[in-house]
């Protein structure tokens, strides 16, 4: 005999050949749990309720099971080795979906037929949230790749910057100090080449400020560097051209990480900024992992070497890992950094949990709290210093 299995927010239904309910296994009356179950069913998991329903139907002599979900049908036939068929939509499913409130009353899922819509609403809210979170989860792996590429690009570019400094520096050693921004300097060398071309007009055209252009032109003229042939400068310019491409890639990656971080981790993002936030996620191996870490671990993420050394040798453990890159930390006084690091890590841990598990936005409040805590730490220090001074004076 054939039976049709239909899943809805109430539970799993087994219909007979004339579309009459033969058996039904209802879900627990908890919208979060129902949402979890529906999510599992969609991806082809054979959940307990379904297993139970199939057993009951088999006992009643049903041998062919019609599903409306091909993935689920495939899994069921593989795992339970029963005969399946897929019909989308099935006749029974149509009838159930056409009379949802009536069936809800009939099977005793609700006492009043209107109530079914509260269930539909609550379950769909939970299910959508689960899916938003799952979508974000997979995206954090992309962020990790992007962040690591940014870090590698920075390393590579720094290496090349030193090379160009030495190489082009043979002809114009003063340029390095004159133009501090690496990218700007590389672009000038790429576009102007030889020292002789670093004249006022050219520099102005390249967007250098008038005062700076004058200064560079003057020093270029007086420079003692060697003269380069066409072929010499050509090689250097080729390297600079490739570097400029890498800079473009880096900028685009940074924008990419920015939007992605705002999307999947808005709370971490306001507290730590997209890049540092992304690095924390990368070090933890994903947003969920970060969300599960205690604050003390977050505080030293990225300082694992120092931490293990300390554990082994009994030396002082590190006060902070990568969060040192946060401006709040490296702008604060040495003696306060431990406390500031602890406060920052504490807030970041909360932010990570919210981003990883509930997805609400509480970033502004977290930022406010953190600021207040930092002010307290600074006040504390002042008070203590004051006390110490008084103490010294008295004795």
């Amino acid at each position: 005999m054939k039976t049709t299995i239909v899943v809805c927010v109430m539970g799993v239904f087994g219909f007979g050949e004339v579309n009459k309910i033969i058996d039904v296994v209802l879900f627990p009356k908890d919208s979060k749990e129902i949402a979890n179950i529906l999510d599992k069913i969609e991806t082809g998991s054979i959940i307990g309720e379904l297993n139970a329903l199939i057993k009951n139907l088999q006992n009643k002599g049903y041998g062919v099971f019609i599903f409306e979900n091909s993935r689920l049908a495939k899994r069921v036939s593989e795992k339970l080795s029963i005969n399946v068929d897929v019909v989308i939509p099935s006749e029974s499913g149509e009838i159930l979906r056409g009379n949802l409130d009536k069936y809800a009353l009939d099977v005793g899922f609700v006492k009043h037929s209107d109530e079914i819509y509260d269930w539909v609403h609550n379950v769909s809210m939970e299910l959508a949230k689960i899916k938003v979170r799952n979508a974000a989860k997979k995206r954090d792996l992309l962020i990790i790749q992007a962040i690591q590429t940014i870090d590698e690009l920075d390393k590579t570019l720094n290496l090349f910057v030193s090379r160009v400094r030495e190489w082009h520096g043979l002809s114009f050693p003063e340029l390095y100090r004159l133009v501090e921004k690496h990218e700007m300097r590389i672009s000038l060398i790429n576009n102007l080449g030889r020292r002789e071309n670093f004249v006022f007009e050219n520099l102005k055209r390249e967007g250098v400020s008038l005062k700076k252009a004058e200064q560079i032109a003057k020093i270029a003229q007086a420079s003692m560097g060697v003269k380069l042939d066409d072929d010499d400068i050509d090689q250097i310019q080729k390297l600079c051209k490739s570097m400029l491409v890498l800079y473009t890639v880096r900028h685009s990656l940074e924008r990419y990480v920015n939007t992605m971080m705002e999307d999947i981790a808005p709370n971490i993002c306001v507290l730590a900024g997209p890049l540092l936030g992304g690095r924390l996620i990368a070090l933890a191996g994903g947003l969920t992992n970060l969300a599960k870490m205690p604050a003390s671990t977050v505080q030293v993420l990225g300082a694992e070497k120092a931490l293990f050394r300390a554990l082994r040798s009994g030396a002082r453990p590190p006060k902070h890992g990568i969060i040192f890159q946060h401006s709040l930390l490296h702008d604060s006084k040495r003696g306060q950094r431990g406390k500031v690091a602890r406060a920052l890590a504490g807030k970041l841990t909360i932010a990570a949990r919210v981003d990883g598990f509930s997805g609400r936005y509480i970033g502004d409040k977290l930022k406010e709290d953190l600021k207040r805590r930092i002010d307290e730490i600074k006040e504390d220090k002042k008070l203590r210093l004051l006390k110490e001074k008084n103490h010294v004076r008295k004795s």
Binding site: V9, I41, P89, G93, L100, H121, S124, A128, V132
Partner: protein
């Protein structure tokens, strides 16, 4: 300034507000809360939300003389491409407490706004994070509906609508399709695109009841109303 709100002569659940100009409005299901910055007006102790025809193609179509609005109080509606809920929230007002709407949207960033700002306070709206091209994926969440509203601004929007109608639209149900000529095919003239999408609907078993162009509110857009043959 004196505001006057009147019931729309033809369409239940829709109101006309007159101050400087005549505007459409819906009765606010969640008083004191706006959804997209629209104006709230009170008249005889009832609060209405002004329905911005430059932001919502549905409102634009009504102002441009749509002959029939199938969506009515107490209906069940499937909305494809709900975005952050601008139009959907007005439909939610029209449906009222006893109606229900399933809002399909596949951009997770957008649906997060829909969930937190709109569905959270409007219990007649259920968010569905899914791709409207794969209606079988929300079979266990969505029921049979009276109307389907489709505004996904994607190629083959008529086909997507028909695929959903095959599964979810009741026998006497109606569909509304907002056709965006530009996003379907930039190389074709808008009129050809409209015709092509309308033909698809006809082939898939719909009778076309009305077609309204949305200028000046929206460029290269049309609203099509259909029902099962």
């Amino acid at each position: 300034m004196s505001v006057k709100v009147e019931v729309h002569q033809q369409f239940p659940g829709i109101y006309c507000v007159s101050f400087e100009k005549k505007k459409l409005a819906t009765k606010n299901l969640v008083p004191e809360r706006d959804v997209y910055g629209e104006r709230l007006v009170k008249y005889l102790d009832v609060e209405y939300r002004i329905w911005d025809s430059y932001r919502s193609k549905f409102a634009a179509a009504i102002l441009n003389g749509l002959k029939k609005v199938p969506i009515q109080p107490n209906h069940k509606v499937l909305y494809l491409g709900a975005a952050s809920g601008t139009t959907a929230s007005h439909i939610s007002d029209i449906l009222g407490e006893r109606g229900h709407m399933y809002c399909v949207e596949f951009a997770h960033r957008t649906i997060r706004e829909l969930i937190n700002n709109v569905c959270l306070v409007r219990s007649n709206m259920s968010p569905v994070l899914a791709d409207a091209r794969l209606p079988e994926q929300y079979l266990s969440l969505v029921e049979k509906v009276d109307d389907i509203y489709c505004d996904i601004a994607q190629p083959q929007q008529a086909k997507v609508l028909a695929d959903n109608a095959d599964i979810f639209l009741k026998a006497k149900g109606w569909v509304m399709l907002a056709i965006k000529a530009r996003s379907i095919d930039v190389t074709k003239k808008p009129l050809d695109v409209y015709k092509q999408e309308i033909d698809t609907l006809k082939i898939r078993g719909f009778k076309i009841e009305d077609v309204v162009f949305l200028e000046p509110y929206d460029k290269a857009h049309a609203m099509v109303i259909g029902t099962w043959k």
